[in-house]
Amino acid sequence: MIEMKRIAIIGNGISGVTAARHIRKRSAKYQITLISAESEHFFSRTALMYLFMGHMRYEDIKPYEDNFWKKNRIELLFKYVERVEGHRNTLIFQDGKELFYDELIIASGSQPKTFGWKGEELKGVQTLYSLQDLQKLEKNSKNVQRAVIVGGGLIGVELAEMLMTRGILVTFLVREPYFWGNVLPKEEGDLVSRHLRSHLHDLRLDTELDEILADENGSVRAVRTKDGEEIECQLLGLTTGVKPNIGFLKNSDIKTEQGVLVNKYLQTNLPNVFAIGDCAQFYKHPTGRNNIEQLWYSGKMMGETIAHTICVSPLAYQPGMWFNSAKFFDIEYQTYGSVNPFKADKELSLYWEDTNEEKCMRLVYDAEENNLLGVNVLGIRMRHAVIEQWVNNKMPIEKVVSELKKANFDPEFFTVNWRKIKNTFNDQLKQLVP
């Protein structure tokens, strides 16, 4: 029998798994080895919160049944890769064993980023990213009355929601003047901040962490803010962002910076080594977005792309219109296309909000060309395919406003006052264009 070529994939998250699945779909001739030190099987990281809140069990957040991998001949290796020796195509594991590969895909994801605060190492201080973090949280949240969360992003708000289901009083510290200030425009940020305030024990905007204070047992007892205020807590969650998880590549012959450096074909400096997902850093992003794109959907697309490159022919990574979604307690958020937190040059935007219903919509369009650039919605679901078409076809804003309802994706019988939205937008259009 002819020895099959082996593709090794480091990381069994959405990027690595998508790559493995699509390689198998396109070709039967490779041996695929999927390696992870975090979990034996792929689980949905975005669902960790639901595990903690008791909505689902661990087996429910695995996207594929356990027999899926064998059926698709994807070999699973539950091991920690300590080193990569690119010059001899070999992975070295923590247990000293080695694995030879023909092609290597690095999809090792992210790890939490903290800022070296004094007291980070104390008991009861933790981040939230991995399965292991969640297990730690189970222990740390026992007998806790008050918790503080630092970092006004998506993981922070998830952690707040999680802890509240255990009856813990949560104080949420946000550095920006409103929630998720580096992504949301002010109006949306304010709306979400108000919603958070109605759920949380305490939301502190414009507040930064200075120091973490210990009790006599070496556990966290309080935090001090930069304003000098002390806030009591027995649990501190640091959710101040993530960075590429590439520690194991130190001293290897693969070029890295913050992430693993790749060209538009997702290829590293070694021709048979690729990097995808959160851990990849483009020399120059194909569409001019951030060179590191830490997003579920990007990971998925990179996985699909790399499978084509390996099995068929080189395919450049070319993501289309940006989209993302999230949920803040009870409010769903969707964004399509380009919506900047601060008004950019040559861009105008229309904004409608229903304060009682906690719904809003923003349309961003080009000030000169007049075409739709992006959409933000809170509390309303929109149809991805329709908006993509509008943005890609550069639909004029007036036409977008008049056809908005066509892009609605709310469940049947949900009511949105489309006429009011239309009138609001038309009024704003008149004011904006003299």
């Binding site: 959405i14 099987h41 949905s44 975005t46 669902a47 639901y50 595990l51 809140m53 008791g54 909505h55 689902m56 069990r57 661990y58 429910d60 957040i61 996207p63 594929y64 049944e65 539950f78 292991q132 969640l134 297990q135 189970e138 949240s141 026992k142 289901t165 255990r166 009856g167 109605s198 579920w296 959907y297 998925k300 697309m301 699909e304 792309t305 084509h308 022919s313 395919l315 450049a316 070319q318 289309g320 989209f323 979604s325 999230a326 949920k327 307690f329 009870d330 769903e332 969707q334 679901r381 149809r383 991805h384 395919a385 993509e388 994706f409 469940p411 049947e412 019988f413 949900f414 009511t415």
Partner: protein, 528 residues
């Protein structure tokens, strides 16, 4: 590190204290049930009308108060916190206890009704007579065990319906749908048949008829005593009989074509009504494995074949005994059945063969061959019975195994163990017919919103029919499954707004086409 500690979500658990209101409500509700228990134990209540009212009102207030404590002080939104931690909803001790009590109730109701006070030789006593005042008010007749069951069933749908509406108050689809099942249960299943019974006298009699209960769910609708009654009741009776037949061949296919089977299963049906209201807390217990799906396909379609056999044999037996009474003769009827089945088969084979999986083809051909062989055998004179067994044997076996044990004892009794739609998923022959229509001849689908699924698993977990919804959604594929009852909970619990139940403009095959790549991955457009 090992994969994961067992019981991850259970190790710490939520705060479980009940509020004072919930404790009081539990007491009141249990008191209501206690009165029923006393009546069952033959305690003779002096003023039945008062004690019956006290009992039913106490049960109602108990559920309302408990639900108020659960939802009133929480913001509108998804309320699934700690579902997998509570004993009652995670197959713990309380789940088993309530499962045993419920199955016990069904066993007594179906097989030992004398314990409830049923007396075949004279007047009833015990629990049954407690319901006399209500029964007499509605139909002028004293209560039977079925009246007791019907009343409690309806009450369960109404009070837990209110709880459900509270829980999903952020979601108009859920609210309206629940109003609908409450309305159809109260009006069509409970009040109208009782009022119809009021019309009965010595010269005029209609069978007890829940108009929304369609054959083959209503497997006894065409039994001789009923058909005789229909026919002898003149125009009204004949109209009802024709309505029963039209429901099968016209009303059902048309509505399912436009709206999917949800118009029935989660908007009208009584079994569905109970599952959606009283059974809502157990929806996540359904088995999502592909193995369970395989079992489901064989079991539900085999029961459909069984009910077709049974009904054909029963009707065939009584046709022709009295040539004046029935214009339909035995032969025309049997040939008619063969023609209808062949028609359905050919329709599927010609237009939808590509979409039939291997086991569906084997099943369809296999069962059709068996039916034709049996009919052929009968006509060749080798067998005087149509389907080997006596029609009465088939009828009573079906009634016992499927009508009582499966739909009642297992289907409802084991809600807390196997989930709330076991009967609808594995057993209901009506669901099997509607499912075929939905899969092949309907505009209904659940649309996946482009590439936005994050594979979190909420949709699959909370699908009461055990559909692995996310396995489609994460591929960007729409969901068109025979078993989907369109309850809309997958769409409600989706944290990214990815799923939408819709009636499209057509039955186009693209409504469930697989998407090879994530929407928005433009590299493929340019290079492939």
């Amino acid at each position: 590190m090992k994969e994961l500690d067992e019981n991850l979500s259970l190790s710490n658990g939520p705060p479980t204290q009940l509020s004072v209101l919930q404790k009081v409500s539990t007491f009141i509700g249990l008191f209501g049930l206690f009165v029923l228990l006393l009546a069952t134990l033959n305690i003779d209540f002096p003023k039945k009308i008062i004690w019956l009212s006290i009992s039913l009102i106490a049960i109602t207030l108990g559920v309302f108060g408990f639900s108020y404590g659960l939802y009133a002080n929480k913001s509108a939104g998804i309320k699934n916190n700690s579902v997998w931690s509570y004993s009652l909803t995670s197959r713990g001790l309380w789940a088993w206890l309530s499962g045993i009590v419920l199955t016990g109730f069904y066993i007594v109701l179906y097989f030992f009704p004398t314990y409830l006070g049923y007396n075949p030789d004279g007047s009833n006593s015990g629990l049954i007579t407690l319901f006399d005042p209500l029964s007499i008010a509605l139909s002028k007749n004293t209560a039977s065990q079925w009246f007791v069951y019907g009343t409690l069933y309806t009450l369960a749908i109404l009070v837990f319906g209110v709880k459900f509406i509270w829980k999903y108050r952020n979601n108009p689809y859920q609210r309206i749908r629940t109003f609908s099942v409450m309305f159809f249960q109260l009006g069509f299943a409970f009040i109208i048949p009782e009022l119809m019974a009021r019309l009965n006298n010595e010269s005029f009699s209609l069978p007890y008829y829940d108009l929304k209960n369609i054959w083959p769910l209503n497997h006894y609708n065409f039994e001789q005593y009923r058909v005789d009654e229909f026919i002898s009741a003149g125009t009204i009776g004949t109209a009802l009989l024709i309505f029963g037949i039209l429901s099968i061949f016209v009303i059902t296919p048309v509505l399912t074509y436009f709206y999917g089977k949800r118009w029935y299963c989660s908007w009208v049906c009584g079994c569905g009504g109970l599952a959606e209201t009283a059974g809502d807390s157990f929806r996540h217990l359904s088995d999502k494995s592909t193995f369970a799906w395989k079992v489901e396909r064989w079991v539900i379609h085999s029961i459909l074949v069984f009910v077709v056999f049974m009904t054909t044999a029963v009707v065939y037996t009584y046709l022709g005994y009295d040539a004046d009474k029935y214009w339909l003769t035995k032969d025309i009827f049997l040939i008619g059945v063969v023609v209808v089945l062949s028609f359905v088969f050919v329709l599927l084979w010609v237009f939808k063969r590509k979409e039939l999986k291997k086991d569906a083809k084997i099943g369809a051909i296999g069962y059709l061959t068996i039916i034709f062989a049996l009919v052929g055998l009968h006509y060749s004179g080798l067998n005087d019975k149509v389907f080997i067994f006596e029609a009465e044997t088939l009828r009573s076996t079906y009634g016992f195994l499927i009508g009582a044990v499966f739909s009642g004892v297992i289907g409802v009794g084991l809600y807390p163990i196997f989930g709330n739609r076991v009967w609808c998923r594995f057993g209901c022959p009506m669901a099997a017919i509607l499912g075929m229509q939905q899969r092949f001849f309907s505009r209904f689908r659940i649309t996946t919103n482009g590439g936005q699924c994050i594979s979190c698993g909420n949709c699959s977990t909370y699908c009461e029919m055990g559909i692995d919804v996310k396995s489609y959604a994460q591929k960007g594929q729409n969901i068109v499954r025979s078993s989907c009852v369109g309850c809309g909970v997958c769409s409600a619990v989706c944290p990214r707004g990815v799923l939408k139940l819709e009636n499209g403009k057509d039955v186009e095959e693209s409504r469930y086409a697989e998407q090879p790549i994530t929407l928005g991955n433009d590299g493929f457009k340019l290079n492939v």
